[in-house]
Chain length 180, copies 2
């Protein structure tokens, strides 16, 4: 289970897709669980309070766990702003790789992929992470990528390096079980 | 995706577990998604109104679909009382086998595995399927088992026959992809 956490517009979805493609190319079964898609299918009805965000994370972690125990690499891309909720997901997973997709707030605001920072800064959206809601950065992420200072390809390479170091990738061309 | 639907205490969970064990014994990757467990992990907060039950079914169908596309047989055991919601799950799945776990209401009430019929009949539980909430039996289930008139082993055998007929099981000992 690879868990990408970070501010809105930090680059989580981009990296999750790149990582998914790369792992599939290496013969792995992969499912990318992206925050927006997950909310549509799994957690419509949940809002953005701390309790609802935590429940959102719990559900995604449960689904990712189902996939992982069948050898599917679950790549999760979610803001998941609260440390305790991420640590709960980590504790429930036999192999959890936390990736901090780190990007200065100013750069995220400049990118504003979905135009939501603009609305949050105008006071039109409450509980917006990085503006009106907290983000608790990981204290012990397996990988930290600086998407405001390196290319997506470079960030991807660093995630792959970390997976390789942990023995998660197996030899090229083989389909090693994700968890031993 | 094998979808077991029926009244409370009809025998869905029993059959789902037997089917899961049997398919695992044949070398298949299987995940049993049981109504109660699913509500705990995926849909806490949803109640038993028609809208909430339908949303519950939609979420489970989505998760089952994720598993199925990685070759995992998802065996779903849920009351899923509304025909339209089950048909929606069917429409979204490339290979959907609906099993009507049919059992006379009187016999379900006699079994009352969780003691809930008693409470529903006493008026302590609202929206209880078969007592104060409707159950719409399937019109075109791939299999109907009569758990009030045959043993679990016999019901299981008939489900397996239906899967075999559809070419879902492959040759003994092989791990054929569930969907072609």
């Amino acid at each position: 289970m690879v868990w990408l956490t970070g501010l809105p517009s930090a680059g989580k979805t981009t990296l999750a897709r790149l990582l998914g493609d790369e792992l599939r190319g290496r013969g792995r079964a992969v499912e990318v669980l992206d925050g927006d898609e997950v909310r549509r299918h799994l957690t419509s009805g949940l809002g953005f309070s701390k309790a609802d965000r935590d429940e959102n994370v719990r559900r995604v972690a449960w689904v990712a766990g189902l996939l992982a125990r069948h050898g599917v690499v679950a790549v999760v891309a979610m803001i998941s702003p609260y440390r305790a909720a991420r640590d709960e997901a980590r504790a429930a997973s036999p192999d959890f790789v936390e990736v901090h997709v780190d990007c200065a707030a100013e750069e995220c605001i400049r990118r504003d992929v979905k135009g939501l920072y603009r609305r949050a800064l105008a006071g039109e959206i409450a509980n917006f992470t990085g503006v009106s809601d907290p983000y608790e950065p990981p204290l012990r992420a397996e990988v930290t990528v600086r998407t405001d200072g390196e290319s997506p390809a470079r960030s991807l390479g660093r995630i792959l390096d970390a997976l390789e170091e942990r023995g998660c990738l197996g030899a090229a061309g083989t389909v090693a079980p994700w968890t031993s």
